[in-house]
C-alpha cells in the first residue's frame, strides 16, 4: 500500500455522515492526491518524495476531516431544529383551530365545490357564519 493509499484510508475512517457523501469526498480527495503526485512525477521527483510532498501540501488529514464533519453536524442540527419548529407550529395551529371551533368563534371552512361554475360563486374555504343557537 502506497503512502497515498494509506492516507486516503485514514481520511475515510475519520469522516462521519451519510455513506454516499463520505464516498464522494474521499473520491475527490483521492483524485486530487493522484493528480498532485502525477504533477510531481512529471517534474522529475521520485515517487516516494512526490507522495510525501503532496501529503505535506494537503496538510493535516484529521483537521480536514474535522472541518467537513463539523459542517455536516451543524447542518444536521439546523435541519432537525427547523423540523421541530415546523412540527410545533403545526401542532399549535391545530390546537388553536380546535379551540376556536369548540368555542364557536371560528367554525371550520366550508368544503369546496369541485365544478368550475360553483367555484366562481362559492365562498368555500372561508369560515361559515357563526352558528346560531336558535334562541
Amino acid at each position: 500500500m502506497s503512502a497515498i493509499e494509506r492516507a486516503v484510508a485514514a481520511y475515510a475512517a475519520q469522516l462521519r455522515g451519510p455513506r454516499r457523501a463520505r464516498r464522494r469526498l474521499v473520491d475527490e480527495v483521492e483524485a486530487h492526491l493522484h493528480d498532485a503526485v502525477d504533477a510531481e512525477l512529471a517534474g522529475g521527483t521520485g515517487r516516494a518524495a512526490a507522495e510525501q510532498a503532496v501529503l505535506a501540501r494537503f496538510g493535516d488529514l484529521h483537521a480536514s476531516a474535522q472541518l467537513w464533519n463539523r459542517d455536516r453536524a451543524l447542518r444536521r442540527g439546523a435541519s432537525r431544529r427547523n423540523a421541530l419548529i415546523l412540527a410545533c407550529a403545526a401542532v399549535a395551529a391545530a390546537a388553536l383551530g380546535v379551540a376556536q371551533h369548540a368555542s364557536g368563534r371560528n367554525p371550520p371552512p366550508r368544503p369546496c365545490a369541485t365544478d368550475q361554475r360553483a367555484l366562481m360563486t362559492s365562498s368555500c374555504g372561508l369560515p361559515s357564519a357563526p352558528r346560531s343557537n336558535g334562541n
Binding site: 473520491d27 483524485a31 480536514s64
Partner: protein, 106 residues
C-alpha cells in the same frame, strides 16, 4: 505568505477562482496558487470541505467528470454564487481601501 490572512477569505478566493468557469478541486487549488504568485501557502485539505459547504449553501454546483481513467468532481458557480461573489468582492475592496488609507496616513 502566512496562512492566517488567507483563511478568513477562503470563500471569496474559491468563488473568484470559479468565476472564469468550471474547475475541479485540484484545478481550483492550482489556479489560486498560480494567480497568487505562490503566495497562498495553505493546507489543500481545507479546500474540499469548503467547496462542499459552498455547494450546500447553494453557491456552487458540481458533477462528476470522466477524464481518462480518473473521475473528478467539477464545480461551477450558481447564479446565487455570482451574487455572493459580487457582494464579497465589494466588501473586500472596501476593507482593503480602508486599510491602505490607514497605512498611508501613518
Amino acid at each position: 505568505m502566512a496562512r492566517e490572512p488567507f483563511s478568513g477569505h477562503l470563500d471569496l478566493v474559491l468563488l473568484a477562482a470559479l468565476d472564469a468557469g468550471p474547475r475541479h478541486g485540484y484545478g481550483v487549488i492550482e489556479h489560486i496558487r498560480r494567480s497568487s504568485g505562490g503566495h497562498f501557502d495553505y493546507p489543500e485539505g481545507t479546500v474540499y470541505p469548503a467547496l462542499h459547504r459552498l455547494e450546500a449553501d447553494g453557491l456552487l454546483r458540481s458533477a462528476w467528470s470522466e477524464d481518462g481513467a480518473r473521475r473528478r468532481r467539477v464545480y461551477e458557480m450558481t447564479p446565487r454564487g455570482r451574487q455572493a461573489l459580487a457582494g464579497r468582492r465589494t466588501q473586500w475592496e472596501r476593507f482593503a481601501q480602508s486599510v491602505t488609507a490607514v497605512i498611508e496616513s501613518a
